[in-house]
């Protein structure tokens, strides 16, 4: 019986494909694939239906299905194209089989439904798995990338390092900041660490608390922490919240903080006076030659 149904479908694949293509093109008008060119859409439909039939003939998941789904994922086709397509295929096939049968009782109907489900469901599962697998992969890659960016420490000068923070600080990141900060201070032998919060959108009590703790920890290992990049609106919210940041120096900009850091390490920026002369002499000597 099963094989019988199977052969009905395979022998009449042309009709089913035709019906299916009609269905899919009809669905197309009101949805996502409208930006895709007509030719591409049609050729993809053909491939899709070929893949469906090849996995029907082989009675299982074929490598063609793998290749096909991989290609669609790479091209960025929506998953709903595939699931809609398979739903349409299910409907078309059931309708076709029923129209071919002379008499339809409930037993036969349930058998046909079962049969078609057994063809279509594994394909849907496979495709959804492939798609979600690729999404999970992307998310995990981005998480790693984000973590690498989350708490960088830059040794800008002997004894002075800078930690620029950009974006939201959550508990996970706060932990990383603390670890990197302390590790870096020891590694680069830093006397002064500048934490730049120019790029932090909101400083609430949690963020402030973590910064205070980090600064206190840096003080314990014998260095000074300067908080820089406090924008005017952030300064006001910190005051409103009633947070005391008085235990360590703070500055409005990295530039000012850097100056203070130089002063703390007994250095300053000096403008060299004879640089222009040097260049002129060089030019003169070039002219002479």
């Amino acid at each position: 019986m099963d094989n019988n149904l199977n052969s009905i479908v395979i022998n009449n694949s042309d009709t089913i494909v035709k019906d299916w293509l009609e269905q899919v093109s009809k669905n197309r008008k009101n949805d996502y694939t409208s930006t895709i060119s007509e030719e591409l859409f049609e050729s993809t439909n053909r491939q899709f239906v070929n893949v469906i039939f090849s996995s029907l003939e082989k009675q299982g998941i074929s490598t063609e299905l793998d290749d096909f789904s991989e290609r669609l994922i790479n091209l960025g086709w929506p998953l709903s194209y595939l699931t809609d397509g398979l739903q349409a295929f299910r409907r078309v096939t059931i309708n076709f089989i029923l129209s071919q049968s002379e008499q339809v009782d409930s037993e036969y109907l349930s058998e046909v439904l079962d049969m078609v489900d057994n063809w279509v469901d594994p394909i849907i599962n496979q495709l959804v798995n492939e798609y979600s697998g690729s999404w999970e992969h992307i998310v995990s890659l981005q998480q790693v990338a984000l973590q690498e960016l989350s708490a960088p420490l830059i040794p800008v000068m002997e004894n002075i390092t800078v930690m620029p923070l950009i974006g939201t600080i959550d508990t996970e990141r706060a932990k990383l900041i603390m670890e990197n900060l302390l590790e870096g201070v020891i590694k680069h032998n830093a006397e002064v660490v500048l934490i730049d919060i120019t790029g932090v959108p909101v400083v609430d009590t949690m963020v402030a608390h973590h910064i205070i703790q980090a600064a206190e920890a840096v003080r314990l290992i014998g260095s000074t922490c300067i908080l820089v990049g406090i924008r005017p609106e952030i300064a006001q919210t910190i005051v409103n919240l009633g947070i005391d940041l008085g235990k360590f120096p703070t500055k409005s900009s990295l530039k000012k903080g850097f100056k203070t850091a130089l002063e703390l390490t007994n250095r300053r920026i000096v403008k060299s006076e004879n640089s222009d002369e040097g260049i002129e002499k060089l030019l003169d000597s070039l002219d002479r030659e």
């Binding site: 959550d170 909101v202 609430d204 009590t205 402030a208 608390h209 005017p232 609106e233 919210t237 409103n240």
Partner: protein, 133 residues
């Protein structure tokens, strides 16, 4: 009561979603950058309290547009354990989680209106309003 929109708070990153939505509303209504930062910070505190103490809840927004004043109403709702002693949590420096204890009193100072209803075992509702000046 129906709100214009609500953000569910379940994960730590939902806090970011809530305050981004709040900031957008604040911008739309016409708050200045300082008030936008105040509102975003207040939402951050309220949402974090939900995340830390109640586990899950929601932050809702309602724009107020009356003839002579405009503003944004931010409501934090949860079905968490509630607050035993409200006067205690409104004191600066009180915290059960080792934090700074500036959250709720800070929110009261950041916003213009602040109402808190809480029943132990039933949940907490905090309703705050900021007016455009």
């Amino acid at each position: 009561m129906d709100f214009q929109s609500c953000v569910k708070i379940q994960k730590e990153w939902d806090i970011v979603g809530a305050r981004q939505m709040g900031r957008e509303y604040a911008k739309e209504i016409g708050f200045g950058t300082v008030d936008q930062a105040r509102i975003a910070t207040a939402i951050s505190e309220l949402a974090r309290n939900i995340y830390l103490y109640a586990g899950k809840g929601k932050v809702c927004f309602e724009t107020i547009d009356e003839i002579n004043h405009k503003g944004l109403c931010v409501v934090a709702l949860d079905d968490g354990p509630g607050i035993q002693d409200i006067s205690q949590v409104m004191e600066d420096g009180f915290s059960t989680s080792g934090g700074l204890g500036a959250g709720l009193p800070g929110v009261r100072r950041l916003m213009d209106q602040f109402d808190i209803i809480s029943q132990p075992g039933k949940g907490t509702e905090i309703r705050t309003v900021k007016w455009v000046r």
